[in-house]
Symmetry: C2
Subunit: 346 residues, 2 copies
C-alpha cells in the first residue's frame, strides 16, 4: 500500500538565501507605484516627484543578539541603525521609522525604557522620526521589528543592479571590526560562564567593541557623495560580509569582479585581535558581517572626485560576467570569491 504522507521539508535544508528566494515566489508586484519589490536593500515606491524606500529588519533574542553582553540601550540603537543603513544603501535619506516590540514579562518597564532610549538616541543622531509601532507581550524572549522609510528624488535611487564593466569597486571605512568585536564578547562570555568570578577583560578594545555594539550607518558617505556630485552605479550595505554582499551586486548586475587583498581596509586593532585568535585578518574582513559600511561601484570617470577623500577605499573593479568573481591575493593569485557569510564562520 502506498501511503500518502504529507511532505515535510526542513527550513534548514534551504538555508537563508534559499528560503528568501523561495518565498519571493509569493511576492506580488502589480501596482504601478511599486518601482522595486523584493531583491535590494529596500523596496522602492513611486510617490510622484520623489521615490520612497522602505526596509524592515527583525531581531530575535538568541538568534540576532545575546542579552548577556548586549546592553538594552545599544540593542535599541542598533535595531534602528541597521535599518537606516539599508535606506542609505539605496542613496536615500531615512526620515521615519516604526518599531514593534514583543517582550516577555520577565522584563520590567525599566528595561523597555532603556531599549527606547537607545532607539531615540539613534533617531536623534540620524534625524529620523519614530512615528509608530506595536507592543506586545511574548511567551518567550524579546523580538524587535523595525521598519524604516526614506526619500530621494526618483533618479537618485541606486540599485544593486547597475554595476558596469570597468566600474571601480569602493568601500567605506574598514572591515572585519564588528566581527572581531563579537569574537571578543563571545570569548569573555565563555570565560565568565566557566568561572563567574573572572571579570571580562575588554580593555583597549573599545574600537572593535563599538563596531559590534554601536555601529554607524552611512549617512556621512551619502551626503559626501552628493556633495561630490557622484551617483554610484550600484550600492549595498555590508551586513553579511564583503564577499557575500559584493556577490549580490555581481549577480544583480550580471557582471564579474576583481578585488585585491592588499586594498581591503582593515583597522590595526582588528588585525591584531584577529591574529590573537589565530584568524586571518583578511578572511575576517571578507566574511565578517555587521560592519554596515557601504560597498558601491562608480564609473571610472568619477575616480578623480573621490581619490583624495579619506574613508573610501577603491578595492578593485567590475569585470565582465565571464571573468568570474575574483579575489586577488597579495601573491597575485586569483581565487573565486565565495559567499561564506559571517554566520558560517561561527
Amino acid at each position: 500500500m502506498i501511503e500518502d504522507k504529507p511532505t515535510r521539508t526542513e527550513l534548514s535544508e534551504l538555508g537563508e538565501f534559499g528560503l528568501i528566494n523561495h518565498l519571493a515566489s509569493f511576492a506580488r508586484s502589480e501596482n504601478s507605484s511599486t518601482l522595486k519589490g523584493i531583491g535590494d536593500d529596500a523596496a522602492v515606491i513611486d510617490c510622484g516627484d520623489k521615490a520612497m524606500v522602505i526596509t524592515t529588519d527583525l531581531l530575535v533574542e538568541g538568534v540576532h543578539f545575546d542579552l548577556s553582553y548586549m546592553p538594552f540601550k545599544h540593542l535599541g540603537y542598533k535595531a534602528v541603525v541597521v535599518n537606516l543603513s539599508d535606506v542609505y544603501a539605496m542613496n536615500a535619506i531615512p526620515t521615519q521609522i516604526t518599531v514593534s516590540l514583543a517582550m516577555s514579562n520577565r522584563f520590567p518597564l525599566e528595561t523597555m525604557e532603556e531599549l527606547y532610549q537607545g532607539i531615540r538616541m539613534a533617531c536623534d543622531m540620524y534625524g529620523v522620526d519614530l512615528i509608530g509601532g506595536d507592543t506586545s507581550s511574548s511567551k518567550h524572549g524579546l523580538m524587535i521589528s523595525v521598519t524604516a522609510v526614506g526619500f530621494a528624488p526618483k533618479e537618485d535611487i541606486v540599485y544593486r543592479s547597475g554595476a558596469k564593466e570597468n566600474d571601480l569597486i569602493c568601500v567605506t571605512g574598514d572591515l572585519g571590526a564588528a566581527y572581531m568585536g563579537l569574537q571578543l564578547l563571545e570569548r569573555e562570555k565563555q570565560i565568565f560562564l566557566e568561572n563567574p568570578e573572572i571579570q571580562p577583560d575588554l580593555e583597549g578594545n573599545d574600537y572593535i567593541l563599538e563596531r559590534q555594539l554601536k555601529p554607524e550607518a552611512g549617512k556621512a558617505t551619502i551626503l559626501k557623495l552628493k556633495e561630490l556630485g557622484i551617483k554610484p552605479t550600484a550600492m549595498i550595505d555590508v551586513s553579511d560580509g564583503l564577499s557575500s554582499d559584493l556577490l549580490h551586486i555581481c549577480d544583480k548586475s550580471k557582471v564579474g569582479c576583481a578585488i585585491y587583498s592588499e586594498k581591503i581596509p582593515v583597522d590595526h586593532l582588528t588585525y591584531t585581535v584577529a591574529e590573537s585568535f589565530n584568524l586571518d585578518p583578511t578572511t575576517c574582513a571578507l566574511n565578517g558581517g555587521e560592519d554596515y559600511e557601504l560597498l558601491f561601484t562608480i564609473s571610472q570617470a568619477d575616480f578623480e572626485k573621490i581619490k583624495d577623500f579619506k574613508g573610501i577605499s577603491v578595492i578593485g573593479h567590475i569585470t565582465n560576467a565571464e571573468s568570474g568573481k575574483m579575489f586577488i591575493t597579495n601573491s597575485n593569485q586569483a581565487i573565486e570569491l565565495t559567499a561564506q557569510g559571517w554566520n558560517a564562520m561561527n
Copy 2:
C-alpha cells in the same frame, strides 16, 4: 542602611494603553514630512501631492493567535487584513506591505508556504503588493510583523480627532461576531483537550467563525463613501471593541457621545450563540474585538446621502465633552461607556 535597589515596574501594572502612552514619550516627530506620528490608526507622511499612511501590527503565537484552531493560511491572510483595515480607517487605499516572520524550526517549509499563500490571497483580494520583509528563525514559536502603506490625497485623510458636536456616529456591518466565533473555537478546543475523541461541533456557525478566522477590511466602505461624496469627520477601525474604539474618537476629538443599544447592529447568529453562552449580545457587540468594521462620524448634512445605504448603521451622535460618553439602554437609561475591551472579557 539604605539600599539603592534598582526600581522594577512590572509591565502588567501599566496595562496595554498605559504602556503605549508611556512609550509615546520616546516618540520623535520633528521632520516636516511627519504629518501624524503615534496616536491614530496609522502614521501619516507628507509625499508632495499625496499623503502616505503607514501602520504596523505584530502577531505573536500564544498571545494573538492559537495554532490549535487557526489554520496557517488564515493566519497569513488575517495578519495582512488587520493592517489593511488600519489603512482604510485613515480613508486611504493600501498599496504595499512588508511581512517579517520569525519561526521556530519545529515548522517545516510547507507550513511557511501555507502562511504565504494566505498572505498572497489577502494581497490579491485587496490589490496590495508584497514588496519586502525579513525571515528569521526563532527559539520559540511564531511571530508575524506586517507593515502596510497606503496613499490618499492629503486633504482626504481622516483622523480620529475630527468629530464635532452633532455629528452622526456610524458603523459598518455588524458587531460581536468575531468575538462569538472565538468563544466557540475556544469551547471546542477545551472539549477536545478533555476528550480528544469528540470531534468539534462547529456546524451552522460558519458566519461567526469566518468573522474570527477570515475578517474583511473596509475597502468597500471607503470606495462607497468616496462615490457618495462623503468624507467622514473622524474614523477608526473596530479592533478593540466598539466602546473602546469610540472612546478613542471621543478622547482625540475632545467630545462626548450618545449611542443607542437598539441601534447597534448584531447579526442573528451572533445573538443566538451569545445567548447559548449566557452572554448578553449587546455586551458582546460593545466589547467584543476583532470585527474590523469601520466606526466613523459624519456631518448631519451627509445623512441623506447614506440613509439608504445598506451596511451602514447610524448608532448615535456626538455630544459636547461635558455630556460624557453615554450608552443608552433599551429602557432609555444612560450609562457611562467604559473601555472594557475584549481582552478583559476573556
